[in-house]
Subunit: 186 residues, 2 copies
């Protein structure tokens, strides 16, 4: 398997317990008790209600200067104190995908300040983006973003997603699920 491929397995036996699931836009996902994150993965042996797949990939939008600032400021996943998490699968509509790269960058950053908003919550809110649009399987979403943070930063995370959802970029999103999780024994 592609070593950058990951599966988010909704079921009964994952390491992260689902505390809340809600459809922000579009159809809901069936409710599950837990999510397991598997790398390069096979779902054999997992009692899965659903699986969302995505790959980590190269940067699409950040400038060199933004990339340097991100690298200097962000922290990785897996911090001991990050006992809370969120998985936010989104799909963008056909109009978005017909735009050129420079038009998408213009909307994403110059107009909607997506990178800048995310940067303001670093290092508290750690994140990793997974791309699903161009993998061979018919995935229901274009992106999965996984966030990790400590309980004391949970309200900051609420502010972050609330800010993003008011942007012009978000008008291109036609399906979004918001899943909140807590690490088991966390």
């Amino acid at each position: 398997m592609n070593e950058r491929l990951f599966g988010f397995v909704g079921g009964d036996s994952g390491a992260w317990e689902v505390t809340q699931m809600r459809a922000v836009k579009g159809a809901p996902l069936p409710e599950v008790k837990t999510i397991a994150i598997l790398n390069g993965f096979s779902i054999q042996g997992h009692h899965a209600h659903w699986v969302l797949r995505g790959v980590t990939s190269n940067e699409r939008y950040v400038t060199k200067e933004e990339k340097s600032r991100l690298i200097a400021t962000q922290e990785g996943l897996g911090r001991t104190e990050s006992t809370l998490a969120a998985l936010i699968p989104i799909r963008k509509n056909a109009s978005w995908w017909l735009l050129t790269q420079e038009e998408r960058r213009e909307i994403l950053e110059e107009r909607s300040h997506h990178i800048q908003i995310g940067m303001a919550y670093l290092p508290a809110i750690a994140r990793r983006l997974y791309h699903c649009r161009d993998i061979g399987t018919p995935e229901p979403f274009d992106f999965l973003t996984w966030f990790e943070f400590s309980p004391s930063d949970a309200s900051q995370f609420d502010d972050l997603v609330a800010q993003l959802r008011t942007t012009h970029e978000w008008s291109y999103i036609d399906h979004e699920i918001d899943i909140r999780l807590a690490r088991k024994n966390g």
Copy 2:
């Protein structure tokens, strides 16, 4: 299956006969007699020596103005007179993928004139790009480009690929195969 997923199946029974195969850089692919192009595909029932998979996707580099000119000038695949074709799988090295979008665009177009060079051979040389880097299976290449042209434009195609191979962009390519084909009963 993802309807944008295609497989290039190297075997004995495809619609395109292989007339020449050569490794421009890196290891060669095993020689095959034919290539079949299958959409949204399963390889069951095909006697395949190898399969290269890729997806068609959104534009990554062209500006709006370049996109308009491409749409106005290019012709589609499947023209009756396009009895010759080429399949050129390439892989770019890790340094390329660590660059930001703007650095990649700078090298690809401002410095190497990739889009401008391709445009000069329109509509004679029709092309379609398939992306393989972000699909779930471990693909040996990052891109597959399929070209179609008439026998009278074959030398133009040779000029096109020769020009591209002298560019700075091509210094990032660490694996390239050049496969030439003729349509059976073409």
